[in-house]
Amino acid sequence: MRRHLFILEFALSGLCRRRYKNLALLVAYSLLIFIISSILFLTHALKREAELLLQSSPEITVQRLMAGRHALVPVDWVDTIVSIPGVIDASPRYWGYYYDPFTGANFTVLGVRSSEFPLKGREDLDPEDCLIGSGVSETGLLRTGDSLVMVDPEGIARPFRVAGVFSTSSSILTNDLVVLKEETIKRFFQIPEGYAVDLVVRVANPSEIDTIAKKIKEKIPSSRPITRTEILRTYESLFDWRSGMVLSMFIGALLAFFIFAWDKATGLSAEERREIGVLKAIGWDSSDIMEMKFWEGLVLSSLAYLTGTITGFVHVFMLGAPLLESALKGWSVLFPSLKLRPVIEVYQLMVLLFLTVVPYMAATIAPSWKAAMTDPEEVIRS
């Protein structure tokens, strides 16, 4: 035990003697782990957030496909669908997108019926009122009482009084929403009478959802039912895909770093060679030198791993991932503030270990063996 501690001590002294070289390596290593951990933590947290929230999304949404594109759904499909046993209720949904030329943002306009009105303390929404998400409120500089102007298909500007703004804590769901009354949205988008954008089906027994979706497809062949589990699964793989994609683009950088580590471990300076030669001459065994080299790698890896993980955690969960935001954002003008639930599992930490520390250790095995095989006589003579 004491012997190992002394070798560790010696390895640390060695690292300190070549302070700047090792510090540069440590910083690069930590930065790499920081970036990868940020990506892993962020996508994982988003995934869990989606999983939790979308559990209460509609059991089935039914769209209509015409010429391979979405088309408006005839409202009388509701009767066909309700007649299927197990269906509690089916209701039309009215929603759409609105491109706002003043801010360059896309809004999602959503119609609600008064019975499902979500704002506490108020009974109903007036036909000229709207509720807006915090993103809409920020980009348009709108507060409660102001009016939001939207241009309808005929080119007439229509003002809507802002009756309320969704709180920022819900921005991951409501950031770009403009909520109108159902009659208002039908009038505004000029949706023909008897049509809706899609239908929402409520099912009593969750285990029957798939069967019912299949029955809907059989009864109405041009429909496209989407079940809740499909929505959840889509989000699951969407975020995996994104983080995997970023990681594979990152493989180049990873490889470059490991080659750098390899090169650094191989290209021993004359001073280092002499040091090892002297150690062997005074009786160190080859396996002791290898152990020293192993400790060097472990010291760097453990410090870099911990530092990278801690900073990654702080970056994602305390600061809201500002460095990744621009990459995630793309063209979106409205982007929610990422206040995510800090959920990390041992799994993320282990994946991180496999992506960084394992290849690093692998890259340093052969060089440290080469160093340990240095012939003392040859070194001291030269």
Binding site: G68, I231, R233, D240
Partner: protein
């Protein structure tokens, strides 16, 4: 399907491990052919130097293997949400049954590399390194297994088809793939319980007899029992130990034990299981490989046997604990 962080990590590490194993096999072949411990030629010297490299490669491979075993289970668990009907890692493995082979291979390879490291450790304790050729012959057996495992793992991940919304008729798509069996059938409870406790009892008795009487045939008996102990214990975990932890007679999943919901009890359970198996194997293996070397084997074999006995007792204690202290009773 490949673009999942866990899968990228697993495939990457298995590529590294395989490159190392192929190199080691190549170097091992040279050692088997040209090794001559009496010689002092340059070739022999370079071979002796090479053994240092190979032993640290193998230690690395062993470590990655053990972590990879857990990472594989974790990844399968993380993926289960993408398959219709899957409840945990079992569902993912059922979605492409090659996964079970991969898991089995990982376990076997872990045992192999542990044995190799063990022999290497013994070898380094002696002057004349008596096991060298046998060790590298073992390495030659292991390398194709590693390659097979990597290929199977690649096929497993390539063959996973997640059920996402890709077509215009989502419901039919989900329907086609059908429900994946979300559980594995356990063996009947009562006979399994008898078998398990008999094996544990025999293991402990033989271990005790060996410690006291030191008879040679007991070592081999113990090794044989250790080899039986591993599959019987895994079957028992599936059949009756895990339902006791979940307090659900229908839940036979051996992987959920590793999750925080059950206090990570799976880790001490599986680690004591692996240790019990390995320490049970060591006395007979060291005897078998020892040749004419002069090692204080007697003393060590007793030590290993004791360690094996303790591991098995820990394993049994953990698995018996919920049977005694919870109100849940499994009828069988």
């Amino acid at each position: 399907m490949i673009l999942h962080p866990g899968i990228v990590a697993l495939l990457g590490s298995s590529a590294i491990v395989n490159m190392m194993m192929l190199y080691s096999a190549f170097a091992g072949l040279r050692i088997i052919r040209y090794w001559d411990s009496k010689s002092s030629s340059a070739l022999q010297l370079s071979l002796e130097r090479r053994t240092y490299l190979l032993s640290s490669i193998l230690s690395f491979v062993l470590g990655v293997n053990l972590l990879g075993l857990f990472l594989f289970i974790y990844t399968a668990d993380d993926l289960h949400t993408q398959f219709v009907g899957a409840m945990c890692a079992t569902g993912t493995l059922n979605a492409n049954p090659i996964g079970w082979w991969v898991l089995g291979m990982k376990l076997v390879l872990f045992l192999f590399s542990a044995v190799w490291i063990f022999l290497n450790y013994l070898d380094q304790r002696t002057e004349d390194v008596p096991f060298v050729k046998k060790r590298y012959a073992l390495l030659l057996v292991m390398t194709p297994l590693f390659v097979t495992e990597a290929l199977l793992q690649l096929r497993f991940f390539l063959g996973l088809r997640p059920n996402i919304i890709t077509s215009c008729c989502g419901a039919l798509f989900s329907e086609n793939s059908g429900g994946i069996a979300s559980s594995i059938a356990g063996a009947p409870v009562r006979p399994m319980e008898y078998l398990f406790f008999t094996v544990v009892f025999l293991y402990l008795i033989v271990a005790l007899c060996f410690i006291v009487f030191q008879m040679d045939f007991l070592k081999y008996l113990l090794g044989g029992l250790a080899l039986v102990f591993l599959p019987v214990s895994i079957a028992s975990i599936i059949s009756f130990i895990s339902p006791y932890f979940y307090e659900l007679p229908t839940h036979h999943c051996p992987f959920d034990l590793l999750q925080g919901l059950y206090g990570y009890v799976g880790y001490p359970l599986y680690i004591s299981l692996l240790l019990g198996t390995l320490f049970g194997l060591f006395p007979s293996l060291s005897e078998f490989f020892k040749g004419r070397s002069e090692l204080p084997l007697r003393r060590w074999q007793r030590l290993w046997t004791t360690a094996g006995g303790i591991s098995v007792m820990v394993f049994t204690a953990i698995s018996v604990y919920p049977m005694l202290f919870s109100s849940f009773v499994l009828e069988g």
